[in-house]
Amino acid sequence: MRVPDAGFPVEVIRSVPVVAAPEDIDITNAAGLRTALLQAAARGNGTVVVDMSHTQFCDTARIHALVGTHKRARAEGGQVLLVIGVAAVLRILSITGLDRVIPNFSSLEQALAQTPAAHQDRK
């Protein structure tokens, strides 16, 4: 399933939308990514997983895409979960302090295990 406007692959796994972030998040695609994340979060009752396992580069200004989605998700009772692949991206999260605000995981499976849908499945 793809979001036509933004062009980022969105897959729904166990009722949780998972958006695949691009290799580079920069000025050319950050706004589109933000739109894709917000649309996906709306489908997942506010919760969305951002799969950044293939993301190599994300500058501090473009981290805005994640911040907006996180705040919207929290307002709707959901949450944003990040899957981080490379140390450089984790470093940007650490410098901006987002690593202590938005939960991040080293694998998609770990992230999905923390979603509200996963908790409901266990009940």
Binding site: D59, A88, G97
Partner: protein
């Protein structure tokens, strides 16, 4: 900002230098730490604990770090536009900045950094650069800013 501009965010660096000039107290909100150069030594990133960026939450404590400023030391404050380049790892940009910063006059240090990191071409992003040096002879603090 949480209430009135929910989509806004900002990085902030807030630093206070003691009147005696020996120490600086610094707090970071998602901002890059300053580079500090001691006379005759390679410059390095100041070891400062980072707090969360402004605009994401109002429930995060941002710790204060105290940095020693010996006579002759130079402090370099900057924005992300100075060091970030598309497709490049952030640590490479930070390393390039540390190589370019030396404990000299703020004016010369600004010129050296802009030459090394931006060159003569147009910058890709906006840049703020602030240098503060404690005089080697305890005469006071020199400040120079370039953009």
């Amino acid at each position: 900002m949480q209430h009135f501009e929910p989509d806004a965010m900002a990085t902030v660096l807030y630093a206070v230098i003691e009147p005696g000039l020996d120490r600086m107290h610094i707090r970071l909100a998602g901002h890059f730490p300053p580079v500090i150069a001691y006379p005759g030594q390679p410059a390095e990133l100041a070891s400062v604990v980072t707090g969360a960026i402004f605009g994401i939450t109002d429930q995060v404590r941002r710790p204060v770090t105290t940095v020693q400023i010996p006579p002759g030391a130079l402090l370099c404050f900057y924005t992300d536009g100075l060091i970030e380049r598309p497709g490049e790892l952030i640590d490479d940009g930070l390393a390039r900045l540390c190589q370019a910063v030396t404990a000299q006059s703020p004016e010369a240090a600004c010129a050296a950094v802009m030459h090394a990191l931006v060159g003569s071409g147009p910058a890709r992003d906006d840049i703020a650069l602030l240098m503060v040096r404690r005089q080697p002879d305890h005469a006071g603090v020199e400040v120079d800013a370039g953009a």
